[in-house]
């Protein structure tokens, strides 16, 4: 893989949070491992889906890409630049290039600002827009996300969840970024609205050539937007493949179980359910971290951490971290 074609490149990214005891003389009691050695890349105009259950580290990864959280180790390169080393001016450049849409359409908009002010915020900070150009750009953005420009002076509480999410998308689009981190952008929305937003995201990608890092827990929506999908479990990517390959021929037992849980609506009655729950990220199992819930686990799984690698007989680019991957 040549690094120069990718817009974003993430190598061995890790993040752990100290858990401190209370009191004045607090000390570190344990570490919570949120992300543990994650690598992926995103090309211009491409969507990478990042899927997993709560606590798998997918949102933390997204926030590190946004430089909202600093990684414990690892490198994130955007257009070849290590984003950790960016100074003030360069960071401003990054903020124009990479933007984010948040999960909660209620908490992600400042309740005391009109939607015009909210969308104008990044434009004002950039210093490139003021006066009439600023106003025109805001109105253009409102139209682009399917909002009535006449509503520019209303407050967020006057809009429904779907409309608020459109406003959040307009804010992210304001500075014409090349990459947008979508952190569960539709999971708080009603079914009939979810489809509108997914379609909008598809249209914007097509029209503006955007790349997305699409973070979601819902396998049903991931396929609609993603060219490639990475499945995360307890801080690690367990499988990474083209969307079609992953959904049609999942190789990791966890991916299979996730898929069958999501598909179960079509399978009534009893079927093999994934047992147990995700272990605590404070006490991660040795070896393969999925082994405590895996049907196929044997001694080797306890002893050795499986590496994320291509299995010889499959399509190139389909990588799986399992000692005993499912046959295609």
């Amino acid at each position: 893989m040549s690094g120069d074609t990718s817009l974003l490149e993430v190598r061995d990214l890790a993040k752990s949070f100290p858990i401190r005891t209370g009191g004045v003389f607090s000390r570190e009691a344990a570490r919570l491992t949120a992300v543990d050695g994650v690598s992926f890349s995103i090309r211009a105009g491409e969507t990478l889906g990042l899927v997993g259950e709560s606590g798998c580290g997918k949102s933390t990864t997204g926030k590190m890409v946004m430089r909202l959280i600093d990684p414990t180790s690892g490198i994130i390169r955007y257009q070849g630049q290590d984003i950790q080393t960016l100074k003030y001016q360069e960071l401003r450049w990054l903020r124009q290039e990479v933007q984010m849409v948040f999960q909660d359409p209620y908490s992600s908009l400042n309740p005391r600002r009109t939607i015009a002010e909210i969308i104008a915020y990044p434009l004002e900070i950039s210093g490139k827009y003021r006066g009439k150009t600023l106003r025109d750009r805001v109105l253009e953005l409102l139209e682009q996300v399917g909002m009535d420009p006449n509503h520019a002076n209303r407050y967020p509480h006057q809009f429904s969840g779907g409309q608020r999410q459109r406003i959040g998308i307009a804010r992210a689009l304001a500075l014409s970024p090349k990459l947008i981190v979508l952190d569960e952008p539709v999971s708080a929305l009603d079914l009939s609205i979810q489809a509108q937003i997914i379609n909008l995201l598809q249209d914007l990608q097509r029209d503006l050539g955007l790349a997305y890092l699409f973070i979601s827990h819902d396998l049903n929506v991931v396929e609609y937007l993603s060219d490639r999908v990475a499945v995360m479990y307890l801080g690690k990517i367990v499988e990474l493949a083209n969307s079609d390959d992953l959904f049609q021929q999942p190789q990791h037992p966890y991916t299979r179980d996730l898929l069958s849980a999501a598909l179960s609506e079509r399978v009534r009655g009893e079927q093999a359910l994934l047992q147990g729950e995700i272990p605590s990220p404070i006490r991660i199992p040795s070896g393969c971290r999925f082994r405590t819930r895996c049907r196929k686990a044997v001694g080797q799984c306890t002893a050795e951490i499986p590496a994320l690698g291509e299995t010889s007989e499959t399509a190139p680019g389909h990588r799986v971290a399992c000692h005993f991957p499912e046959d295609a």
């Binding site: 259950e53 709560s54 429904s160 969840g161 779907g162 409309q163 009603d190 079914l191 009939s192 609205i193 979810q194 489809a195 509108q196 997914i198 379609n199 598809q202 827990h217 819902d218 396998l219 049903n220 929506v221 396929e223 609609y224 969307s243 959904f247 179980d257 996730l258 898929l259 849980a261 999501a262 598909l263 179960s264 609506e265 079509r266 009534r268 009893e270 359910l273 994934l274 047992q275 729950e277 995700i278």
Partner: protein
């Protein structure tokens, strides 16, 4: 009462619903809701959150009430439980009959007894219904002692038995745990165990798996199905998720803007939806194995403070014409196991 089977094409507003296909004949429905109207008085006027809802649940049946936010599905459940806060809420009219006995107008004291022993409820977030400062044991024992005629030691035994029934490993040890020490899935299991201990005939489950991960969601649903059969308990399942419906429900009532738009067996709803809203909703959902554009429903759900003059779905419906804007269509029986609220069914 509902024993009269609605003739095909006959308006049945204010009457019970017909029985699911194959259910044994005229046993009395366990719960019967008739033309329920629950209104809220607010600054912006009267919000008609529930505006003429009728459905019924037979003993041992799982009825799923599906709807988006603002459809009134949860407010209906709160009305059944007598938990609508007043003011601003009030039950303007209608009847809620549990085994023939109207619950509307019961005193808080009477409702307290019914809530514990005959109707139980579990919520989306079990953390809000569990008291964070007490152990599981003391919370379960308190509920059991209050509603069942047993002693302290016996209550503990029942609690352990119930925790085992919901497949909580090592139940005796878990009794000493505080709610925050348990995962989301385990907390929901504890909630279910607590409700089962009171042996209710109806369990209302309000989005019981929405806050849980997919894999855990599947576990909890199969648990609900299992205990439902074991205790011969009816379940009123409130959800926005057709996936959940298809897993465990027998019948479905689709709600929109405070009204029931269509009811039918799960199979009929999913395979041959008849109401345009049901159809639109089903085809708007994303599904694995499909790509491309989704068929979204345009617009947003109606503002309940300004209800539409006619059909509540008229402003978003693909098959709308002028006549839809005149009167609210009636919910009428179209076939043995189905009712639809659409003007097309009137003229068909």
């Amino acid at each position: 009462m509902a024993a009269i089977h609605a003739r095909e094409g006959t308006p049945i507003e204010g009457d019970g619903l017909s029985r699911p296909a194959g259910a044994t004949a005229p046993s009395r429905p366990l719960l019967q809701i008739e033309d329920l109207r629950t209104y809220f008085d607010t600054d912006r006027g009267i919000i008609k959150a529930v505006d003429g809802v009728s459905y019924e649940i037979n003993p041992g049946e799982v009825l799923a009430v599906v709807g988006e936010s603002g459809s009134g599905k949860s407010v209906t459940a709160m009305s059944i439980m007598g938990l609508v806060q007043s003011p601003p809420g009030r039950i303007a009219s209608g009847a809620i009959r549990l085994a023939g006995e109207d619950l509307i107008g019961k005193s808080e004291r009477e409702m307290l007894a019914i809530r514990g022993s005959r109707i139980a409820m579990i919520f989306q977030d079990p953390m809000t219904s569990l008291d964070p400062v007490f152990t599981i044991e003391s919370q379960m024992a308190e509920a059991i002692l209050q509603h069942r005629d047993v002693g302290g030691a016996e209550a503990r035994d029942i609690a352990i038995e119930m925790l085992a029934r919901v497949h909580i490993p090592d139940p005796a040890r878990r009794l000493g745990a505080y709610p925050f020490e348990l995962s989301g899935g385990l907390r929901q299991r504890v909630m279910i165990a607590m409700q089962l201990a009171l042996r209710p005939s109806l369990l209302i489950a309000d989005e019981p798996t929405t806050a849980l991960d997919v894999t855990v969601q599947a576990q909890i649903l199969s648990l609900l199905k299992e205990v439902q059969a074991e205790f011969n308990m009816a379940i009123l399942l409130i959800t926005h998720d057709f996936g959940v419906v298809q897993r465990i429900a027998d019948r479905v009532a689709v709600m929109y803007a405070g009204r029931v738009m269509e009811t039918a067996s799960v199979r009929s709803i999913v395979e041959t939806p008849r109401h345009p809203y049901t159809r639109a909703l089903l085809s708007s959902r994303p599904r694995i194995g499909e790509r491309g554009r989704l068929r979204a429903i345009p617009g947003t759900p109606p503002n309940l403070a300004n209800p539409l003059p006619g059909c509540p779905f008229a402003n978003r419906c693909a098959e709308v014409d002028d006549s839809c804007w005149i009167d609210v269509p009636r919910l009428r029986a179209v076939g043995p196991d189905r009712q639809v609220r659409c003007i097309r069914e009137d003229s068909a």
